[in-house]
Symmetry: none
Subunit: 428 residues, 2 copies
């Protein structure tokens, strides 16, 4: 089943509000076999609402809207629908009386007159109850079975109405016809570029076993999303599994997880499996790696803590980095990163130490060490290893990417050996 | 000037991605007198892209798009525009060669073949340079002067192209005609609830000097946004200034800044003004306060670093917190927070120390210390002070709010005294 979504509100067009409703509605419906094929956003202007609704009805015949149901003068969705369907606006007294009664009970005073406006609805509309707010939605259908259903713009109210009122009606319409679903699976890579991914998957031409493949580059790396669309629910998972298997074969160990997997959680699992503890020494990332590790609930059994050694004096005093190394190689150098990793490991009595030192910018770069130059070192039970990526992006992006690289080095250490202390330098 | 925006991508329709670009574009253009009158979102399907572009061209004649410019097979915006404008696709060799050269310089290897696809552009299109990524945008105009300009979907790339390439072209088109603007001003508060703000501003009834006022609660606190709409550019700032002045009078020192002001930057400015250095000791926040401070470019002159003391042993060994305090009061207690703040200040030789210890959840709470209980201590030149908020939200929200509270305590210390070492306990 295909649907169009129209989100209504000047605040959406002006950019004052991020349209999170659209995301929630699409995800909720996709897993129930309903696909949003188009989305339009219009302001609180009847002519624009009417035009968007008529176009969507002609194209798809099934329309959801959010927004513009409230009691104020700029809420004009229902009057616009009356125009679009050529119906009168009539006062729904039953719905009004229910709210007036709730209002009195809840606030101990009569409902203000301004609220009555919300119950002027196109003739013939079914009322959709709003259990989380005052404005009702409606389900309005023409003689050809084409329909518009309206929901409030307030996310909590919209979510309740979607689940309690809209989804059951959509399912009733779909009836006994076998429902097909949209379902997706995302493989997460890090350390490999979008184009290098594409080269590995080139001859698959964007589709793996007829499952379309999308590349989604982000700060954590490139996510590879496989999507089945219009497939019977019973087949969807097996089809996705076959496609994911092929992608895994081609892309290999650049893939660190799936879906919402966070590399920090994956690293913590590996540490836990080995009974290892970790401590971090951070310069340019200033605590972000510690922040990512401790964002995971239960991390306290593995994470001892760390040293934020932003100032070079702190690297010397708190981590034992020899001043001679700083003088000879500079703070952003392999020997300093290694000394930081080993220093924090020893001082904290941890199994694993990580050292990060780099130039996050925007200042501080040079020809030899441009902005984005980062040294990441890991010391796992005394076996050390360092890498020097040159990371793209602004200050925030470089810092986040540096934490991802550090976590990925650790993931690879634990993935590449069953006996970590015997791991050899450069083996990852 | 009116414009329509078309955001392109299956991931937007499926709800995998929140359309933050639409927000950024609307805000950036509104302040320059350009209004987005419609927004459409379509998938990576040429027929839908062509239909949306043609409809928008017929209606408004001025269209921006985001997304679908990359090197992979599902990036189909430019081929769709060639169809919509009935033009051939031709390889833009100049743009290709520029990227190939940049690629070689940066990565030391030739650009992969798959990247060439990005330079197949509709004939007659002007190339819009992408300084932050590889995919170029285009400006495509027909003989009637109707145009479409394309931007990448990656936010950083889109933002650069919007400011550097699109805005100057739009301004050149608008010429010397007088424009009215939509402009807003946001005052940022922290530590005061939305309803307490509303009580202080109650008799203003949501509008201050006819300027509508919105409350925007978020993790950093409640932002208060004043908006003028359809006002001549010359009057907008003075009108907003009068309204902001009134709000400041009512809300007072709960306001810490305006617009995008980050409390971390404000605290760093105060430290810099006093020539003070800072060190942090973090337990439940695990490095996030250090991360926020060092996110600010130039923070290295004030931020020495810190200790992430996630494990209690680290609190004892690295911060000198007496074991007896931990045994008697528990890790989440005023004496431990104070000992952490003073410990890190002394060990790092800083002027200011901050200690944060709390229960971020979801586990670990008790009746006496529920999840969200956080002790935040500051030690400014030996004068100490602690607060114990009980913070709402999930683990991530509690941790972020704890960093905001710590920063706000520091802001108030420096705001409340001209001679910080003489500051008295509880004075903030």
């Amino acid at each position: 089943m295909d649907l169009e979504l129209i989100t209504i509100g000047d605040e959406l067009l002006l950019g004052f509000t991020v349209d999170t409703n659209a995301v929630h509605i699409a995800r909720t419906l996709a897993d129930r076999g309903v696909r949003i094929t188009r989305r339009a956003t219009v302001g609180d202007t009847p002519a624009d609402i009417v035009d968007a609704v008529r176009t969507a009805l002609d194209r798809t015949g099934a329309v959801l809207t959010t927004g513009g149901l409230g009691p104020t003068a700029d809420d004009r969705t229902h009057e616009s629908l009356a125009l679009a369907f050529d119906r009168e606006l009539v006062l729904n007294e039953t719905a009004r009386d229910v709210l007036a009664e709730r209002w009195l009970q809840r606030f101990g005073r009569p409902m203000p007159d301004s609220n009555v406006r919300q119950f002027l609805l196109p003739k013939g509309a079914d009322v959709l109850t709003n259990r989380h707010g005052s404005a009702p939605g409606i389900w309005l259908e023409d003689s050809a079975g084409r329909f518009v259903a309206t929901m409030p713009g307030v996310p909590r109210e919209m979510r309740g109405m979607l689940l309690e009122e809209i989804v059951p009606r959509l399912q009733a319409r779909a009836g006994a016809t076998a429902t097909t679903v949209v379902r997706s699976r995302t493989l997460r890579t890090t350390g490999i570029s979008e184009s290098a991914c594409a080269d590995r998957l080139a001859e698959l031409c964007g589709a793996v076993h007829d499952v379309p493949l999308s590349y989604l580059p982000g700060l954590d790396g490139v996510d590879l999303r496989l999507t089945v669309n219009g497939v019977p629910a019973a087949d969807a998972d097996a089809t996705l599994e076959r496609a994911a298997h092929t992608v895994r074969e081609r892309v290999g160990d650049w893939i660190y997880g799936e879906g919402d997997d966070d590399l920090a959680a994956i690293v913590l699992d590996a540490l836990r499996a080995h009974g290892h503890t970790i401590a971090v020494a951070e310069s340019c990332t200033g605590g972000l790696l510690g922040g990512r590790l401790t964002a995971i609930s239960g991390s306290s059994s593995q994470v001892l803590g760390g040293i934020i050694a932003y100032d070079n004096r702190i690297k010397v005093e708190q981590l034992g980095v020899p001043e001679s190394l700083l003088a000879e190689h500079g703070a952003v150098s392999e020997p300093v990163a290694l000394a930081m990793a080993s220093g924090v490991r020893e001082r904290f009595g941890a199994d694993v130490g990580v050292g990060i030192t780099g130039i996050a910018g925007p200042g501080g770069g040079s020809d030899a060490k441009p902005v984005g130059t980062v040294w990441v070192a890991v010391d796992v039970s005394g076996v050390v290893h360092a890498v020097k990526p040159v990371l793209p992006g602004d200050r925030g992006e470089i810092r986040h990417r540096a934490t991802q690289i550090a976590l990925d080095r650790l993931r690879r250490v634990y993935a590449s050996t069953s006996s970590v202390p015997g791991w050899t330098v450069g083996g990852a």
